[in-house]
Amino acid sequence: MRVFPLLAQKAFRRNLQYRASHVVTNAASLVFGFIYIAVWQAATARGGTGDYSPVQFAWYTAFNQAMLWITIFFQNGLGIPEAVYTGAIALDMMRPVDYHGMMVAREFGNVWYSFWFRTVPLFAVFTLAIGAHVPQRPETYLLLAAAIVLAAYIGLCLHYVVGIAAFWTIQSRWAYQLLHTAHFGLSGFMVPVELLPGILAPIAAASPFAPLQYYPARIYLELSGAEALRMPILWAVLLTVICRVLTRLARKKLEIQGG
């Protein structure tokens, strides 16, 4: 199975070609990050709340802003809807490679690129501006690495589900919007999920969106240990099953109806 690493490598190389234009989007990400940080700094001027001190809120926001590029900012539906509309999907599914695996491998090439050319530089600039938490416990680095890989995988599986929905509906646009809205509201990207009001807090904590931002951020700030990986692992397994079932259904539909 050398094909998966190769796909990832090609995706990484393709991205390298666009480094210059990514500088602009990175700059925009920075500005958004500084806006959110400023909001937290102003709100917590008289002290923090819950587990978080004012500076931890700022670090939390900075970490999440840098993470966005490897958790949710993927090509909408991983480009599957376009392939469905143009019919290219038939060719993709005909290849003697597992389709879900192929998309995941390719997307991990993009993630690897985004990690080095977006997440790390963004995080570095935020660190220059507001400092950063340096994890003290050695195991945190291991847990953090696992949380980030799981976050990327869950994020791209969610996009995969939305993308493959294009087999049954032509209104994929709403699915993306729903995905991004749910991410924005439930991932804890700006407000740690336990601080959300009422019933939203437990819903958000159990949703597949919290593993994208909230749990990795908790691990990074060393506010949670290995237990914060439980929900990400659960969702990674569940989404793998969902993606594979959907792929089979889509394949069946394609074979019978011709896309």
Binding site: T25, V31, A38, A42, A45, F184, G185, M190, V191
Partner: protein, 267 residues
């Protein structure tokens, strides 16, 4: 006379586009409510923060609600009237800009008349709702009167010119660089997001930027700050329409300049 005729044609073309869109009523209504819901989540997060912390830089949630609502109204109205400006660069990349040039009308007008994205009104409705709720509450506390509310609402409408102008300048960049969509996040969406909060929370350089080159502060912050008695003078009210008009004039000149530099992709 020519301008009047141009406007008349604009309305004719736009209403044709609307009639076409209204053939898909369900899609329209779903989109409209979706847009509103989407932005409601955005505000809900801010509300979640403010439930924990009663104020941001001396502004309570209702006062921030005024900023938030007016910024949403201005942004959504711009998105409604100028969807073609929003992804203008595809006209340059695909070479379809040529087909706009052969019409005997101002190119910008032809461009804008091609489409009207009424679904974006959902965002304006949601903004108006938050603005209305906040204004009512503040009026009940006697912090503002109805005249202040009307002035704020009117300035938000005039303020639509500011995101429009920023987008026009950004789109014009496509005449030179071919691409401009990515730039727009930087020049328009980020500043508008920033204008949803009191500008005092930002570092000095950013505040200066938001009141000069990217003058979004004039949509809401400057006039509302004065009307809430938090600083400024009557000049703050006059500054908003002046800034909006100036932004538009600059943007239109820049567009015209780019227009003259346009050379077709030849495809």
């Amino acid at each position: 006379m020519n301008t009047v005729a141009a406007f008349r044609l604009y309305f004719k073309l736009v209403s044709a586009s609307l009639r076409a869109q209204m053939q898909y009523k369900v899609d329209f209504l779903v989109s409209l409510s979706f847009q509103a819901a989407l932005q409601a989540v955005d505000f809900a997060l801010l509300a979640a923060i403010m439930l924990r912390f009663p104020e941001i830089a001396g502004w309570n949630i209702y006062e921030v609600g005024l900023l938030y609502g007016t910024a949403s109204i201005a942004l959504s109205l711009y998105r409604t009237i100028a969807p073609e400006l929003h992804d203008f660069d595809r006209y340059i990349v695909q070479g379809t800009f040529d087909s706009l040039l052969i019409r005997p009308w101002p190119t910008l007008m032809v461009l804008l008349s091609r489409n009207l994205d009424l679904r974006r009104l959902g965002g304006a409705l949601q903004g108006a709702l938050i603005f209305g709720i906040s204004a009512r509450r503040l009026a009940a506390e006697c912090a503002i009167g109805s005249m202040e509310i009307w002035i704020m609402a009117a300035l938000a409408l005039v303020g639509t010119l500011i995101p429009f102008s920023l987008a026009l300048i950004t789109a014009s960049c496509a005449f030179w660089f071919g691409r401009s969509a990515d730039l727009q996040t930087f020049t328009m969406f980020a500043p508008i997001t920033a204008s949803q909060y009191p500008l005092t929370i930002y570092p000095g350089w950013l505040r200066t930027l938001l009141l000069s080159i990217l003058p979004v502060g004039f949509i809401n912050y400057i006039p509302i700050r004065f009307l809430l008695g938090k600083g400024g003078s009557w000049w703050s009210l006059a500054a908003s329409p002046v800034a909006a008009a100036a932004a538009f004039l600059v943007a239109y000149s820049f567009w015209s300049l780019g227009h003259r530099h346009y050379h077709s992709a030849g495809s």
